[in-house]
């Protein structure tokens, strides 16, 4: 994954983009409202969330067994499972499958896992043409940009920008028709369809795709070969356990009971079927996930990628997604990206948060996101990564403030030095946009 080393600089750019600010505020509000309404109508939403948490936790605890069951079930149905460890391996495996299929054109349905392994770049480097068929992703691809939100990738675009990208006048109707026509050819002529998977059911060897547009269904119906890039943690043991997770995903992501197309694919086409792929390959990606197992961060693997945390995050609302990384953003991104990549490279992300806790409150499967962010901050300190100045500062502060005398001396000095406070350090940073607090006679001395 690409890294974002300077969150602050990228954030400044986003903050100055007036249109992006308005789009992020409206977009996240709508998605949040949708979830709140859907949860309100769901009946026992607390019970459903707890059930979801239990299913996810139990699955991750026994993940190896479920992966084996999945592989056996799918192989029995004529599918091929490829287990990979690194992002490079996974991308190379997909390229190899495409080469074996003599493919020229790859049609893709939205998949964050494919972004993680930078698949498009690998395919293009191998001489293949790749087209994203999810409308938002297609537009971002034309513009050469990365997705801004895991559920609504084009959340920042205006209809004018969308129309420009497609070469039509800025009318919604024309935009839709242009997208439909341009992508129809892709569906019909692509050699390989590549999708992600929202879930994979072990007992039947099925892949579950959750979309609203129908593009995933066309990508998996028409091309001769279907490749699924599957995060290893997306397993669900049985169809019966899939049902509540589908309810949680749809209600939390888009405020729906179910998305328009919830499709289960089990192996390639059967004999005499009219369409469907002749080959079905599932490339299972690890890319750092197994490193979370057995740690305090294992719960992060419960994530069902609904985006609910993004939609309530007051920081994401101001910065948008690409400020965090090219792939995952918001609270789940701030936790996951340092863990999949490295804490050294992504030291800013655990601090890209005011720890307000809205994410934890919104997570349908109960991941304590803001507590995991705090854990990451502790790791930064314990491992000696991040600001040495801050570490020294807090140590000195803690010794000074472990006695009343020390507290009095330091705060008297601070009071005397206050006029200079705006000149250096945190005081300078604070006073860019806010008045420095006045330090008058302490409460304890007035009493």
């Amino acid at each position: 994954m690409s890294t974002r080393t300077d969150f602050r600089r990228a954030a400044r750019v986003a903050l100055h983009d007036e249109h992006a600010q308005a789009a992020l505020a409206t977009g996240t509000s709508r998605l949040r409202d949708g979830r709140l309404v859907a949860w309100g109508e769901a009946g026992d939403i607390a019970g459903l969330r707890e059930r979801g948490r239990q299913i996810r936790t139990a699955t991750i605890a026994d993940l190896d067994r479920h992966l084996e069951t999945f592989e056996r079930s799918l192989s029995a149905r004529g599918g091929v499972v490829h287990r990979t460890r690194t992002a490079e391996e996974a991308a190379a495996t997909v390229v190899s499958i495409c080469r074996q299929a003599n493919a020229h054109l790859v049609a893709k349905s939205k998949s964050m896992a494919t972004e993680e392994i930078e698949l498009n770049r690998a395919l293009e480097a191998a001489g293949l043409e790749v087209v994203e068929t999810d409308l938002g992703e297609y537009l971002m691809q034309i513009r050469g940009e990365h997705p801004e939100h895991i559920v609504a990738p084009a959340i920042k675009l205006t209809r004018t920008e969308a129309a420009e990208a497609l070469g039509v006048e800025p009318e919604m109707d024309l935009v839709m028709r242009a997208a439909r026509e341009q992508l129809r050819t892709v569906f019909q002529t692509a050699d390989v369809g590549v999708t992600g998977a929202n879930f994979a059911v072990a007992e039947t060897g099925s892949i579950c795709l959750v979309t609203n547009e129908g593009n995933a269904d066309l990508v998996t119906a028409l091309p001769r070969v279907h490749v699924v890039v599957l995060g290893m943690e997306r397993l669900v043991p049985t169809l019966a356990e899939l049902a509540p997770l589908l309810r949680l995903l749809a209600s939390s992501a888009t405020g729906e009971r179910l998305t328009t197309y919830t499709t289960l694919l089990t192996g390639p086409r059967r004999q005499d079927e009219a369409d469907g792929p002749e080959e079905l390959h599932v490339v299972v990606i690890d890319n750092g996930r197994s490193g979370l197992r057995g740690t305090r961060y294992e719960e992060m693997l419960n994530c069902i990628r609904c985006g609910a945390c993004l939609n309530v995050c007051p920081v994401y609302r101001k910065t948008g997604g690409t400020t965090y990384s090219d792939v995952y953003s918001g609270p789940m991104g701030a936790v996951l990206v340092p863990l999949l990549s490295s804490l050294e490279r992504e030291a800013a992300l655990p601090h890209a948060s005011s720890l307000c806790g809205a994410c934890t409150e919104a997570c349908p499967v109960g991941i304590p996101l803001h507590e995991l962010l705090l854990e990451l901050r502790r790791d930064l300190v314990d491992r000696g990564i991040g600001s040495r100045l801050e570490r020294v500062g807090f140590t000195v502060w803690s010794w000074a403030w472990s006695s009343v005398i020390g507290y009095r001396i330091t705060t008297t000095l601070a009071r005397l030095a206050r006029p200079l406070g705006a000149l250096a350090g945190p005081g300078r940073i604070w006073s860019h946009g806010r008045a420095l607090p006045r330090l008058s006679r302490r409460f304890r001395d007035r009493r």
Binding site: V315, H351, S354, L355, E390, F394, S398, R442, F443
Partner: protein
């Protein structure tokens, strides 16, 4: 009853009059207030930045200063959370009977004089009070009992942007969050909050940009929203 008052470091240093207002409210409600003089800080600034050892060193001063057998009242939602949720494990002491100020007054307060008759105010929920302590009704009820009309902010769930070290690690985002919060409070006489951190953030911003008066709940109740 007799209660111990924890001023908090921000209260002691930056908002001493708000702490004095808190004490006055407690006395007015008929309680005896003790101020343990060895108190300093609960350690939260370091704790939330991941510096556990530093936090522990300072948090120990709380356990040394405060008696375990009397309630502790705190005019700060974030410090009340630190003391009730995290201090015992961090320092290895028995839990204290910690009360955030508005929760205490709501439960144990006498009648409040109507110092805010006819005033239209907005109340800002601090994240700790909203999500960790789940105290949202008590401060609103108290303001209403004082005669104020309490308006809802459009997005009460959104953080004001303080977040301790976040305010200087990501200052531009922090200030933008404060601006969004203040924009929602247009048209009210005062924006009231029960947390010194939020108070410092929002009043620091209005000092530069203008906007509603921002004051501590204790001041709003003890002397009215027009008080200095």
């Amino acid at each position: 009853m007799t209660v111990q008052l924890f001023a908090t470091c921000l209260g002691d240093l930056v908002f001493p009059t708000a702490v004095a207002d808190a004490e006055a409210l407690l006395r007015e409600a008929g309680h005896e207030v003790v101020f343990p003089r060895q108190q300093i800080c609960c350690g939260q600034p370091a704790y939330n930045a991941g510096h556990r050892s530093a936090a522990r060193r300072v948090a120990r001063t709380f356990a040394r200063a405060f008696a375990p057998d009397l309630p502790v009242v705190v005019p700060s939602g974030s410090c009340a959370t630190m003391l009730s949720h995290y201090l015992p494990e961090l320092v290895g002491c028995e839990p204290y009977d910690v009360w955030e100020l508005s929760a205490f007054l709501d439960q144990h307060g006498a009648d409040l004089p109507r110092r805010n008759d006819g005033r239209v105010v907005a109340y800002h929920d601090s994240c700790h009070m909203l999500r960790e302590l789940r105290i949202a009704d008590a401060p609103r009820r108290l303001l209403q009992r004082s005669g104020a009309e309490v308006r809802d902010l459009p997005r009460p769930d959104l953080c004001c942007g303080f977040g301790g070290t976040f305010s200087t690690r990501q200052p531009e985002v922090s200030v933008a969050m404060a601006d969004d919060k203040l924009a929602g409070a247009a048209g009210v006489v005062a924006l009231v909050t029960a947390d010194p951190g939020c108070l410092m953030q929002l009043s620091g911003r209005t000092a530069r940009t203008g906007g509603p008066r921002v004051l501590h709940l204790a001041t709003a109740l003890a002397r009215g929203v027009d008080a200095n």
